[in-house]
């Protein structure tokens, strides 16, 4: 659903759609799945249904009532609702920021631009771009795929992915600051700043010894 809507952004959207596990024909023509690879599973399976979350909450609530008593149950419910009321405006604002960023920044242009960089400059740019890429895996992987296929250095691609996952501003603002508090969130963020460089350099070293061939151009 998500990616189907993103599909109108063109080539990358189409790639994403292929990876999402839509029609096999689309996936093959977009070159995102090779012939020997298993059919990709959508995130829906792993995200779990709302029903599962409901059952989990129900079971946890029952356990809490039985093991800790009525007072603890009510306290836990009140705390949860309070937390939720506090974080909802932040989460909504962060998602709007993500929506604007995805609308305003053309992803395939970014991939082409980043693809030509290498060395420390490439790593630094990849880390910075990864940090400001909003959205879930459906937003970041298509870019990496295009980068990789257009012959970019693998260290750059992996630095980008690592930055997106460990120093992503989007995640910091949607999840960590609201849910974990500023202190823990900022500490985690600051100690993670060097990680994309470490991963990028290590990946270059490893790839020099065990080359990872880029996917063949099929389209």
């Amino acid at each position: 659903m998500v990616i189907r809507r993103l599909g109108r952004t063109g080539r990358i959207g189409k790639l994403a759609e292929g990876a999402r596990g839509g029609e096999p024909a689309t996936a093959a023509s977009a070159g995102s799945t090779g012939p020997g690879r298993p059919a990709p599973a959508g995130p829906r399976v792993f995200g779990g249904g709302a029903l599962a979350f409901g059952l989990l909450a129900l079971a946890a609530g029952t356990g809490c009532w039985l093991l800790a008593g009525r007072a603890a149950f009510l306290q836990a419910a009140a705390d949860s609702l309070l937390l939720l009321a506090r974080i909802t405006p932040l989460i909504l604002a962060a998602m709007l920021v993500g929506g604007y960023a995805q609308t305003l920044i053309p992803r395939d242009k970014v991939a082409r631009w980043l693809g030509g960089r290498s060395g420390w400059r490439g790593l630094a740019l990849a880390a910075a771009l990864g940090a400001v890429t909003p959205g879930g895996p459906f937003a970041s992987f298509p870019l990496v795929y295009v980068l990789w296929r257009s012959g970019a250095d693998l260290g750059t691609a992996i630095a980008y992915l690592t930055a997106w996952s460990v120093i992503g501003l989007h995640r910091l603002f949607i999840w960590e600051i609201p849910l974990l508090g500023t202190d823990l969130a900022i500490l985690r963020y600051v100690v993670s700043l060097p990680l994309p460089f470490v991963a990028g350099l290590l990946a270059r070293r490893i790839a020099a010894r065990f080359p990872v061939p880029a996917p063949r151009e099929e389209a």
Partner: protein
């Protein structure tokens, strides 16, 4: 938190102004993207937070403190890395669990390692996106280059952990 919120609203305002000056004024497209992202959270996030809240009074605190507590040091960081690597699901599932563990006595450095492990090793993301899209060799290369990261982050956070 207040400063973070103010910053966020400021960024949002700036982006909205930029979008307003673009041809076509893509406010609608941006809002639609945000809505698409928010929709799956609308019901699940409250339920996940509620579940974590109910579990908080009944989790075995001594066990968590012993394995992941501030005093557990490098061993705790390694345990946290293992736990983070196998945590299933996206942020909606993970963050309530992390809050639960943190409130039940997990140490700061250990929590940092756990979050980093979940972020870079992310079993669910590898299976759902990376493997089908990028292929096995790429995944292996990225994982090999990333295995050390949670431990590095945890060790870097150790001196700052209260």
């Amino acid at each position: 938190m207040l400063i973070a919120a103010l910053f966020l609203w400021l960024v949002l305002a700036l982006l909205a102004i930029v979008a307003h000056r673009r041809p076509g004024r893509p406010h609608h497209a941006a809002a639609k993207l945000a809505l698409v992202q928010a929709k799956p959270l609308a019901l699940r996030l409250p339920l996940a937070i509620l579940a974590a809240g109910f579990l908080a009074p009944i989790v075995p605190r001594e066990l968590i403190a012993a394995w992941l507590g501030g005093a557990s040091g490098l061993t705790g960081i390694l345990v946290a890395t293992g736990v983070g690597a196998i945590l299933p699901g996206g942020p909606m599932v993970t963050f309530p669990i992390v809050i639960l563990l943190f409130n039940a006595g997990a140490g700061t450095a250990q929590t940092v390692a756990l979050l980093t492990a979940w972020s870079v090793l992310a079993a669910h993301r590898v299976l759902a996106f990376e493997l089908p899209m990028m292929g096995g060799r790429f995944v292996l290369l990225r994982l090999a280059a990333s295995l050390i990261l949670p431990v590095l982050a945890g060790l870097a956070a150790l001196p700052f952990a209260p």
